[in-house]
């Protein structure tokens, strides 16, 4: 199969999945027992006020009509209006998203780098004390709630040692502006990138200092799965003939381990990065709450407190679409990277 037809097939496969996902969210928010509007008012509003509220949000129509409205809305990038302030949910989500993306990217980098490094060490010292210690550490990371780890890091590194700020994304008022070329303005919303675009190194360092603890907590909790995966794929590849053949040619051990064994063990790791993206977002929600990080997770948790059900639904849909998109991208990247599929 050519790369192109593979990509087309994969994209087509995503469509029914997305439809199912959207339907699932609709079922949960509209069909499950519990009327979102009544829940929002906690049964303490006059019936007329409730009716008017329903009309404003389009929740007075029949369920099938609401379903169609909802689907066409999602297609147009409209996730409805917030019950809290009637502003478009999609807009609020887009403004909160870069913060989550930045946290997720750094968390993933830390998880993967740490996981690969420890996994390679573990596989190379197979069945020795070091191997057992690393594996036990990996299993222990599965059992730590990320928000608890976050609080411990906060307690030690910011409250006790004052090495890092304890929460927030940057010192208020010093948000980086990005690149400004006359009328052309470029800002990604990722503070580490924007500060560099602005050419302000001290802001960059500051952004990193704020980013470090939350992304480290996230990365540490997620690295266990990468340790295990790297270890098992390395144990398999290190046994393969071409690795022995590479050693027989007297190549440096570092070359053999990293460019022969790890390079070939990398595809499953890449797939896992895609699969872990969902876990990463779940972790980000909790981490953002711990570190008062103004991203999507924080937005979702705030809206739960306000009983803003349209916003909750919008955020859930957005998370779902995001995960589907990432897994699509990872699959295509996988096909592109494996020369045997690329043919």
């Amino acid at each position: 199969m050519s790369l192109r037809s593979y990509v087309i097939a994969r994209v087509l496969l995503t469509i029914p999945m997305l439809l199912l996902l959207l339907t699932l969210v609709f079922l949960i928010t509209r069909v499950l027992p519990g009327d979102p509007v009544l829940l929002h008012f906690e049964k303490q509003a006059k019936p007329e006020a409730v009716e008017e509220f329903r009309q404003r949000l389009g929740l007075d129509k029949s369920l099938p009509e609401q379903y169609v409205d909802y689907l066409t809305g999602v297609l147009r990038g409209d996730l409805g209006k917030s019950m809290q302030d009637f502003s478009p949910v999609a807009q609020q989500i887009f403004s909160a998203f870069p913060a989550t993306l930045e946290l997720a990217i750094f968390g993933m980098i830390i998880a993967v780098v740490l996981g690969i490094f420890l996994g390679v060490r573990s596989s190379r010292s197979y069945n020795t004390g070091e191997d057992h210690v690393i594996r036990t550490f990996g299993i222990a990371t599965y059992a730590i709630p990320v928000f608890f780890l976050g609080m411990v890091l906060q307690l030690v590194f910011s409250i006790q040692l004052h090495w890092f700020p304890s929460g927030g994304r940057i010192y208020p008022g010093s948000e980086p502006l990005g690149l400004n070329l006359g009328g052309f303005h470029l800002a990604t919303g990722l503070y580490t990138v924007d500060s560099l675009l602005e050419g302000n190194l001290s802001k960059f360092v500051q952004a990193l200092r704020y980013l470090f603890l939350p992304s480290f907590a996230l990365g540490l909790v997620l690295c266990g799965i990468f340790i295990r995966l790297t270890r098992t794929s390395m144990l398999e590849t290190l046994r393969l003939d071409f690795v022995t053949a590479a050693r027989a040619r007297g190549l440096k051990e570092r070359t053999v381990v990293y460019t022969y064994a790890l390079r070939n063990a990398f595809l499953p790791i890449l797939t896992m990065m895609g699969l872990q993206f969902a876990a990463l977002l779940a972790g980000a929600i909790l981490t953002e709450t711990t570190f008062s990080w103004p991203g999507l997770g924080r937005y979702l948790v705030d809206r739960i407190a306000f009983r803003d059900y349209t916003a909750i639904q919008g955020a859930v849909v957005f998370f779902g679409l995001l995960v589907a998109l990432v897994s699509l991208m990872v699959d295509i990247l996988y096909a592109y990277l494996d020369p045997r599929i690329r043919l």
Binding site: A248, G250, L251, N264
Partner: protein, 316 residues
Amino acid sequence: MPLLEINSLTVDYPTRVGTVRAVDRVSISVEKGQTLGIVGESGCGKSTLGLAVIRLVPSPGIMTEGSIMIDGTDIMRLSNNEVRELRGKVGFIFQDPMTSLNPVKRIGDHFVEFIRTHEKEVSRQEALEKTGKILESLGILRERTTDYPHQFSGGMRQRVMIGLGLALNPKLLIADEPTTSLDVIVEAQILELMNKLKKDYDLTLILITHNIGIVAEMSDLIAVMYAGRVVEFGPTEQIFENPLHPYTKGLLESAPNILHPERSMHPIPGSPPDLISPPPGCKFHPRCPHAFEPCPLREPFLVMKERRFVACHLYD
């Protein structure tokens, strides 16, 4: 001085259920320019012996005893870095060409990386130039250096492996079952090629195989291995004309004989012993048609007999 001299080499694999002695006090010497064939059934330790020569015994194997001298250097005494250098000077060809190349590396990059690891002053361009020449001499188009291994057939890949083995003009080439996984026609081509290269490069060759027919064609010396031990070692013609060890006789009778096709084939009854708990005395005695009283009692020594070495109580 022999180019390769192995003295009483022993390799053990410790396992949970006991120690497996894969190579048992093996002594062999090969002069420069000679070809040695190492024959035996699978699991007799011949591959481990081959890997031991470049100190690449697979984990958890350990060389517990003996020495290996290449060109007068004791390779047991080398540092890890020196062993890497040694591996550049000893070519090694593996059994399965389909799995011996890195699937995500281009053919040319295998060569460039190998050459530049050992000859740091060579530029990438020069290395590629050299690669092209080597591949052409093996009947592969120069343009194919940018291809990936999966774009090559098995026979072509084995040519590539041979090319890699020869890329740094080694003094010694070890080929471990180089044609076993190839079909018969390709096998013949590869053997012919190796015979030609042996002359062109003035190679000392160690050919490890279970196929005694190949050894007859290619080698000057034969070492027959059984259960980790060398049971017979000597010049090829003599061993073929007059095999002394019953196991050697069995091997010859179990292979089709081109000179005497009318002779029927007689496979050796039984199977090689379990090396965790090998039989006492001579390890071949349970399968040996000539076994008598001393055989299960003590192991025969390797003794000189009719201008060769043999380990059998019949010749004590």
